[in-house]
Amino acid sequence: MSGPRARRQRAGLLFVAPAVLLVLGMFVLPVIVTAVMSFYDWSLLGQRTFVGLANYDRLLGDTSWWHSLGFTTLYTAIVTAALLVVGFALATAVRHRRRGVGLLRTAFVLPVVIGFATASYLTLWLMDDRIGVVPDLLRRLGVVDGSVSVFSHFPSALTVVVVLVVWKTVGLTMLLLMSGMQAISKDFYEAAQVDGASRARTFFSITLPLLRPTVAMVLVLTVIGSYLAFDQFFILTQGGPDNSTIPVVYLIYRAGFIDFNLGYSAAMSIGLMVILLILTTVQLVVLRSREDQ
């Protein structure tokens, strides 16, 4: 390779260097540090002692960890299912060019850009027993009598959070599915039409199979996003009622910044990391094997 050309190529390294260094320092390094910290009794207030596997040992016997993991999984399953179903419905409705469809798309995507925290404050107000519109409406319609304290019962608390999350994120699911659908060649549908296939049949034997890569990606995004839920629980349910809605990230926050035990917090973080890596890998492997077919 000639001199100037090689120099030009080396310039590429200079271009990527700042970003890569930042990623190394603020991401790769912290992952390593987290792993190291998890072997320490590491107080937020300063002291640290090496304790070997003690944090992991404690983690295995910690009922609140397992409970939280179970809850987060349940929440993830419900949110993922709800997002896929609603997302599919909306995507099917707005995928074709039609007068006014652009407006509908905009409306459905609009909540996506609002933060989870902001959306939670909004929900807090709408659902408040005394000043909220929703309980007031329910009372006026005679659906309920007396106080409507949605965050005092596990099913209603979870329902409200799931509705909030679907409202806030389904626009994204819809967009992804929609662009996946639009990428499917029209020839397939025309062939199906010639064969006289029903709508349902067309959906299940053409749209869905060809949409697999998109669906898999939506799945990965939704599952990871749901496993990392924090804001909405921290603000709306505050873990209640009776500690039934504590997602894993809340536990990590609590151990580190309320109990000041960064070491234990780090062990939980590593646990979460491993779970997410396994989940993502499984989903990607499934996607890959399907693609190979």
Partner: protein
């Protein structure tokens, strides 16, 4: 195609679609309207559905409570993140797309791997690292963290954007004797500007809406971003919560996002679907 779109009668389609769209937009719209109630009316039982008397009291109280400072913090954090992330992503995207250098593949993989390991799972060590750098006290620390959040997606998008530019354009500029940076600035940047807009938007929403990192890494009320100061308002009140101020704060948190989205949604949607589907 005709049969496909006709299955649902137009009236039903627009009725259901319109109703749904209203359901999606109404909460925010309602919040904005309600923020113009007086403080007492906002907190009254049963609630009024629309302001009986229009008032700016909640906004005045919000300013009096010093929350404007927190709005400003959010603006600074978001602006800083947008600038830093956009510059870094453009440079890195250019580097990854247009140059062949040693370790290129590995380094790109490192950047992408951050998508697999979410920041929520490295919070304890990130805290310790920022603390060591004396950055837990400052918006600069937050900007740093948010910039890293925005990098993987941004670099990915910019790499795709640069890769899509025909090589001839760049070569012509080099023939004319333009340096690498000049080529980037004068020739390539205008071509990839939609990608830049996408990255900037994404960075803005990340920084403006982020909650957990801001909750943990900022130390004092005067440094809080908007979402965090609202959490304090909510929990610190002990039965004496000023609902009007809290929800007016939420208006400040929501409305900029909505406006920016409405103006620039083309780039937002293109970035998300384009980048994501190709991945």
């Amino acid at each position: 195609m005709t049969r496909r779109t006709a299955w649902l009668p137009a009236i039903a389609f627009y009725a259901i679609g319109g109703l749904l769209a209203l359901l999606f937009v109404a909460p925010v719209g309602w919040l904005v309207l309600a923020s113009f109630k007086s403080g007492t009316e906002f907190a009254q039982t049963p609630p009024t559905y629309l302001p009986q008397t229009w008032s700016l009291e909640n906004y005045r109280r919000l300013v009096e409570a010093g929350l404007f400072r927190n709005v400003l913090n959010s603006v600074v954090a978001a602006a800083g993140t947008v600038v830093a992330a956009t510059v870094l992503c453009v440079l890195a995207g250019y580097g990854f797309a247009r140059f062949r250098f040693r370790f290129r593949g590995v380094l790109f993989l490192v950047v992408l791997s951050t998508l697999m390991i979410p920041f929520q799972s490295i919070v304890p060590s990130l805290y310790v690292i920022l603390d060591t750098l004396h950055l837990t006290n400052s918006l600069a620390g937050l900007i740093l963290v948010y910039t890293v959040f925005a990098l993987p997606f941004g670099i990915f998008t910019m790499r795709a954007a640069f890769a899509a530019v025909p090589a001839a354009i760049e070569e012509a500029a080099i023939m004319d004797g333009a340096g690498t940076l000049t080529t980037l600035r004068r020739v390539l940047l205008p071509v990839v500007s939609p990608g830049v807009a996408t990255v900037a938007l994404y960075a803005f929403f990340t920084a403006w809406n982020e909650f957990l990192a801001a909750l943990i890494f900022t130390t004092r009320q005067e440094q809080y971003t908007l979402p965090v100061v609202l959490a304090n308002l909510q929990t610190g009140a002990g039965g004496l919560l000023n609902w009007g101020v809290l929800e007016t704060g939420a208006v400040f948190a929501a409305v900029p996002c909505v406006l920016i989205f409405l103006i620039l949604q083309r780039y937002y949607v293109a970035g998300l679907t384009g980048g994501a589907v190709k991945g």
